[in-house]
């Protein structure tokens, strides 16, 4: 066997071993995690010196562990338990300080130091080497390299911070919105009515009512969406449906067309807005020609859902045939 083949063999064996170990680790069953203990390890025993309540044998720590266990048994989320303990013992109870507020810099400082350190290391290397290894292909100057290092550090910071944020959100049980009742959604929305992030949920709930034909319940939610600084897409969706409701419920043709025009301003050529506007003109004004034009625009637009397309095509052929709606 030549030395070359031997080397090849050798690296192949290493690769195989590495793949085996990696796969074994990756497909390992999740260790049956003791939720109470891992939560307890993140909480400080108030009468001890830096020990967690999971470790400390003191009575106070064990009482707190009992509380954690009973809350878990009652179905509380980790965050709820942490919030409860913070409320009673203050923020010092958190051994794992959050990446926000007064402990934000705790997490950022080491990352910044690392960035400075990498920059310093680069200054200790022959400048030409820095260019060759780091920036030669792009022919950057050294100051640019420094800038790139800072940028990279910033990107890493964002990713790291994002990860922690993510981790915190993941602590909550994931919720499938489809399984939540309208009543629950109402309660959640009422409780968070100031939160701009609630708009999406509000719109979803309003659409549910809209599809059920429950215009009375849908109406205030759509109004709230429009008043609540929505994105153009949210505004378009709300305005279109509001327009349809004033027409379908109250027979107000002009107002309906006005609202749909606003929707089309927010999202130009929105197929759903065009279609409903066409229907209002066809049914309310008996103006089949304009409606046919609008339906045609809908069908010419891209990415139409099959169901909508069917409806539009049916209406189009009916209007062409001179039927009233």
């Amino acid at each position: 066997m030549s030395e070359r083949t031997q080397r090849l063999w050798s690296w192949t064996v290493s690769g195989a071993l590495a793949v085996f170990v990696l796969i074994a680790v990756l497909v390992a069953p999740d260790p049956s995690e003791d939720r109470a203990r891992s939560l307890g390890e993140r909480l400080r025993c108030p009468v001890c010196q830096g020990e967690s309540i999971a470790e400390s044998p003191s009575d106070a720590a064990r009482d707190m562990m009992d509380l954690v266990r009973s809350r878990i048994a009652e179905g509380s989320t980790d965050q709820q338990i942490i919030d409860e303990l913070v409320a009673s013992f203050g923020a010092t109870v958190l051994l794992d300080p959050p990446v926000s507020g007064s402990t934000l810099w705790l997490w950022l400082l080491p990352v910044a130091a690392a960035a400075v350190g990498v920059g310093l290391v680069l200054t200790r290397v022959r400048p030409s080497l820095v260019r060759e290894t780091v920036a030669a292909p792009l022919r950057f100057r050294r100051s640019t390299v420094g800038g790139m290092v800072v940028l990279a550090a910033a990107a890493i910071t964002v990713v790291v911070v994002g990860q922690f944020r993510q981790a915190r959100v993941d602590d909550l049980e994931p919720i499938d919105p489809a399984t939540i009742s309208n009543e629950t959604l109402e309660a959640v929305i009422a409780a968070n009515s100031d939160d701009p992030q609630i708009l999406g949920m509000r719109l979803g709930l309003a659409n549910r009512y809209f599809e059920d034909g429950d215009y009375q319940r849908a109406f205030p939610h759509y109004e709230a969406v429009i008043e609540g600084n929505p994105t153009p897409v949210q505004a378009g969706a709300a305005l279109t449906r509001l327009g349809w409701m004033v027409f379908d419920g109250n027979g107000e043709v002009d107002l309906a067309i006005d609202l749909m025009d606003q929707a089309l301003e927010a999202v130009p050529a929105d197929p759903f807005a065009l279609y409903l506007k066409g229907r209002v003109i066809w049914c309310g004004r008996a103006d089949a020609a304009t409606a046919i034009d609008l339906f045609g625009q809908v069908l010419a637009g891209p990415d139409l859902e099959a169901e909508v397309r069917e409806n539009v095509e049916a209406d189009l052929s009916a209007a062409r045939a001179g039927d009233t709606c």
Binding site: V25, A28, R42, Q49, R124
Partner: protein, 675 residues
């Protein structure tokens, strides 16, 4: 009498220190060391006298001294009565002074050897710096941390008021409360603090050489050579001290852990990290002349961090097992820290031209490149520990908010750094100086990588599939395999080269390699020790099992493969304590392996017992039992396992052993060379 002797000792030490500063500054011009013998001897004499007076007062139960009255009891047995000499604030400063005096003496001996021929300005000026530090520490003993205060108002059990004047009318209480119960619970308490002190105070010597080099404007390689050697001395003690401290915490503080990221543990870790960085970066300057400024920063930083650590532990700003009572020493230490940092860096900035043209590296893929990476990682590591330790203090000072920073923060930050360090430890020694051919380095790492992966396969098959465990085993084995393969590779190449000659045996060549370059191989041994520690941490942190159970006498319970049988409670009365505990028979597969006696120790009049765990050590790991409660009907028992925890103690001591080997080998080499 002891008060008088002790104060005489302190004042003698103080006078000797001032004398040394003056004499050394005057002798710096020619570098003549002979005139420094007397002041150095005076310091040493004074320090020894003060320590002896304190120990004698403790052994003789002289409760007329406030220190003895408040930290000692007649019933405290040997060696704890002896260890009380440094188990409280003032005594610990006396020990500090003594160790500093010994280091000053040793430094003087080596300086006077080199000064005999052509003068040693660097060494003489360094002694002046050590004298200045000694002035501070003897000054502390003479003022805010005087252990020889006389008790003038006795209580039944301790002393209420004291006078600094040894001639004051003394009032001795009949007995004292004894040392802090936690500190008289285990024999390691007598060994671990002196070890740590030898490490901390040892860092004064490299600091003195660095400041001396700046002061006399001799920023060559000589200060670096001496600083590295003295850092190695301090590092060896510090390593041993940290490991023994972790062991003590494990055996005594019944929480089943060994490292709590307590501010005081952090205070010992930070100088260790920076000193470790210096041991490596100094080599870059010796070999390639680079990193001159950085080496000054590291040496000054390591010393400043020991003073910071002393401030944190002795001023009571942070609540901790190690913090003694709040005292006036805090502001004084803080002032000294400020003086050291500001003074050193001011001096450094006025001398920056001396290190301005340090050459740059040719390649990052080289030995010096890997040292640079090592320095980056260790410095960030130290910075993380520093940030985490000081952050709560700073935030509370600025905003008034109280926050905690604990294990989860340190673990998240440090685990990635630790893995990167292990990789650097495995790759670095295989990389040649100047510029390496990446293909060659990869080829030389082929076998270590295979061995490491094989260890990973074995772990996956027989121990655990948790990523961190497998990762720690693979990375740790990689480090060890890399060192071993380097040794065998070099030896067998040498054996082949000699094959024509009389000797060709690889075994003999290995010995020849080890004796030819002892400090390199000693470093590899320390690497292997650190790797074992990493594997041990990987196991204990991820595979430990925990349980809690209420038992009545006669009950059995299964836990983690052990069968525990609560036989009976027991009561013991010892001279200094009452002991209440439970006898628990431990069997594995039906065979009794040991009898464990977790207990609560009651010292003096304490009603709250100090819970003391009982530990059964086996190859696979420890069984760790703690009594949470005991009464007439039964016990509440906490059970923990610590898989592979002995790797930590063994690995830590091997790491320290590497330092010791390097020092003694160099000493032998000097002796044979006739120096």
């Amino acid at each position: 009498m002891f008060a008088l002797l002790g104060i005489a000792g302190i004042l003698t030490g103080l006078a000797g220190s001032i004398w040394l500063v003056i004499a050394a500054v005057r002798a710096t011009g020619v570098g003549e060391a002979a005139g420094l013998r007397r002041p150095v001897q005076t310091i040493l004499g004074g320090a020894v006298l003060a320590m002896l007076a304190l120990e004698a007062a403790l052994l003789a139960d002289d409760f007329s001294l406030e220190y003895v009255a408040n930290h000692h009891a007649r019933a405290t047995p040997f060696p704890f009565n002896f260890a009380t000499g440094w188990a409280a604030l003032e005594g610990s400063i006396v020990l500090w002074g003594l160790i500093l005096a010994v280091y000053t003496w040793v430094t003087f001996k080596s300086v006077s050897r080199t000064a005999r021929n052509e003068g040693d300005r660097l060494g003489v000026a360094a002694l002046a710096v050590m004298g200045l530090v000694a002035v501070f520490f003897f000054g502390l003993q003479a003022t805010v941390a005087n252990p020889f205060q006389v008790c003038v108002e006795a209580a039944a059990n301790g002393c209420l008021d004291a006078s600094p004047f040894p001639w004051a009318a003394a009032q001795a209480p009949p007995d004292g409360p004894g040392p802090n119960p936690l500190l008289q619970n285990h024999i390691l308490m007598a060994i671990h603090p002196p070890m740590l002190y030898l490490g901390f105070i040892g860092l004064t010597v490299p600091f003195a050489y660095a400041i001396s080099a700046l002061a006399i404007k001799e920023a060559g390689v000589e200060w670096l050579r001496r600083s590295r050697r003295s850092t190695l001395v301090a590092w060896t003690f510090l390593t041993a001290g940290i490991v023994l401290g972790a062991w003590w915490a494990y055996e005594v503080l019944s929480w089943g852990g060994y490292w709590g990221w307590d501010p005081v543990e952090n205070a010992s870790l930070m100088p260790w990290l920076v000193a470790t960085a210096f041991l490596h970066s100094a080599l870059v300057q010796m070999r390639r002349g680079a990193l001159q400024a950085w080496n000054f920063v590291l040496v000054i930083g390591a010393f400043s961090l020991t003073i910071l650590g002393t401030f944190l532990t002795r001023s009571g700003v942070i609540g901790s097992v190690h913090s003694f009572t709040q005292s006036a020493i805090g502001p004084v230490l803080l002032g000294f820290l400020f003086l050291v940092v500001a003074g050193s860096f001011w001096l450094f900035s006025t001398r920056s031209h001396l290190v301005a043209d340090s050459p740059r590296l040719d390649s990052l893929v080289s030995r010096e490149g890997s040292f640079l990476l090592n320095n980056l990682l260790l410095t960030i590591f130290a910075f993380v520990v520093l940030t985490g330790t000081l952050y709560p203090l700073v935030i509370e000072a600025i905003t008034g908010d109280r926050v905690s920073v604990g294990r989860p923060f340190f673990v998240r930050m440090i685990v990635p750094l630790a893995f990167a360090l292990l990789l650097a430890m495995g790759v670095g020694p295989q990389t040649p100086w100047r510029e390496a051919d990446p293909g060659r380095v990869a080829a030389s790492l082929r076998v270590p990588i295979q061995v490491a992966l094989a260890a990973g396969v074995l772990t996956v098959l027989f121990a655990s599939r948790i990523g961190y465990v497998v990762g720690a085993v693979v990375a740790g084995t990689f480090v060890i395999a890399s060192g071993v393969s380097l040794l065998i590779g070099r030896a067998s190449r040498a054996a082949r080269a000699r094959a024509t000659g009389p000797s060709g045996s690889v075994g003999r060549e290995i010995r020849r390699q080890l004796t030819a370059e002892p400090s390199f191989w000693a470093g590899q041994l320390s690497h292997a020790g650190v790797a074992l520690v990493a594997i041990g941490i990987g196991f204990t942190a991820n595979l430990a099992q925990h349980g809690e159970v209420a038992m009545e006498p006669g009950d059995h319970i299964e836990f983690a493969g052990y069968n525990l049988h609560y036989r009976s409670p027991f009561l013991l009365t010892e001279p200094n304590r009452r002991v209440q505990g439970a006898t628990i028979e431990v069997s594995v597969d039906g065979e009794v392996v040991t009898e464990l006696r977790p207990r609560a120790n009651f010292y003096g009049g304490d009603t709250a017992g100090i819970s003391t765990p009982a530990v059964h050590t086996a190859f696979t790991g420890d069984l760790y039992l703690t009594l949470l409660n005991i009464d007439a009907t039964g016990i509440l028992l906490r059970m923990d396992t610590s898989p592979g925890i002995w790797l930590l103690w063994v690995g830590g001591l091997i790491a320290a052993g590497g330092g010791a080997w390097s020092l003694t080998a160099r000493r032998r080499a000097l002796v044979t060379a006739g120096v």
